[in-house]
Symmetry: none
Subunit: 207 residues, 2 copies
């Protein structure tokens, strides 16, 4: 798949990344291999990229990406409660983070993603349990049937977004809970894209 020379260039890039924490510049690669010209390096990079062994951000410095960190890891802040503004939500107010690859949770490339710890069993018929971590994307354009985090009376709740004759309301997925029809406006804070449940550990003798 790769020639010896190509492989040795890839090896060098990876070992530099590991040892120094940054990828080498084209000139550093050049001088390490004793090339008289950077163009050689450019050609190797292009080849490695074409063959899928290397990725990069074009026109940026030291922006090679080695397969060591191939999966795009998203760092998702977890909120217990989303403050009203949400525009002003900072990483500080998060109670923790989940880190996982973007693809597994449907996270889009651009949109802000955050997580909410579910409290109560109002969504149990949608199979969302107390303690579950619901991952949402920060968007306002909820569609009929989406499960959303929305702001009602200064509190954030997770409910199903339903429109009936053009008017939206929030539906609990539990007959014991009432539907919420907004007095004036319904502020959708995010649309559910994924869910993570930590199984309650059973008590074990050891471990």
């Amino acid at each position: 798949m790769l020639t010896d020379r190509q492989k040795s260039i890839l090896d060098f890039i990876q070992s530099e990344q590991r040892e120094k924490g940054i990828t080498p510049s084209t000139r550093e690669i050049q001088s390490h291999f004793g090339f008289a010209s950077q163009t050689s390096v450019m050609q190797y990079i292009a080849t490695l990229q074409r063959k899928g062994f290397l990725d990069r951000h074009a026109r940026k410095a030291r922006a090679l990406i080695t397969p060591l960190q191939k999966v795009r890891i998203t760092d998702i802040p977890i909120y217990g409660q989303i403050p009203a503004g949400m525009a002003s939500v900072t990483e500080q107010s998060a109670e923790g983070h989940v880190s996982l690859d973007a693809e597994s949770v449907n996270a889009s490339r651009n949109g802000r993603t955050f997580a909410l710890r579910v409290r109560g069993d109002s969504m149990i018929d949608a199979h969302i349990l107390d303690g579950d971590l619901v991952i949402l994307e920060d968007r306002k354009d909820a569609q009929n049937g989406d499960i959303v985090a929305a702001l009602i009376d200064g509190e954030t709740t997770l409910k199903r977004y339903v429109t009936e004759r053009g008017r939206p309301y929030l539906k609990a997925e539990n007959p014991l809970y009432p539907n919420l029809t907004p007095a004036r406006e319904l502020r959708v804070q995010g649309v559910m894209i994924s869910l993570i449940r930590k199984q309650a550990a059973l008590r074990r003798k050891k471990n």
Copy 2:
């Protein structure tokens, strides 16, 4: 230890590193925070470095080094079906991977962890749906009440492990499905520790 502002700059550097694989340039940090001058960024970097939260290669581009990732990322193979042996399970036979921090899924440090794509709705009363990704730990010592992946007649199924008068059987969490009492032995392949659900995306006019 760090002021809010200092921490938010560090957060930004780290999240960029994780998301894009490269650390931001001073100008990128500048424009993200709306600074009118790079000098602000230079000062923050110097401070973070002095306090030991950041390391760097001076005079090199994008050469910030963020502290070692605190989160332990686990790379979990996803199986559609676990072959009988399980001892001989290789990464090759996996249909994909999820990468996420070990803490979010209860993954223990030693045990092998794998994921199973759920088919059917036999566990719906345990709120496990068709298509869900169930994360399991490779252990044989299931306890009464655990949800396990077990081998019955050469097929792997996800069921609740129940012992009655010392004899174990597999209970479906759906009245429409029968319980499975093993003819001879019950081979537990793993115990559920976590669950990931990708919410089915609703059709949108445009993404």
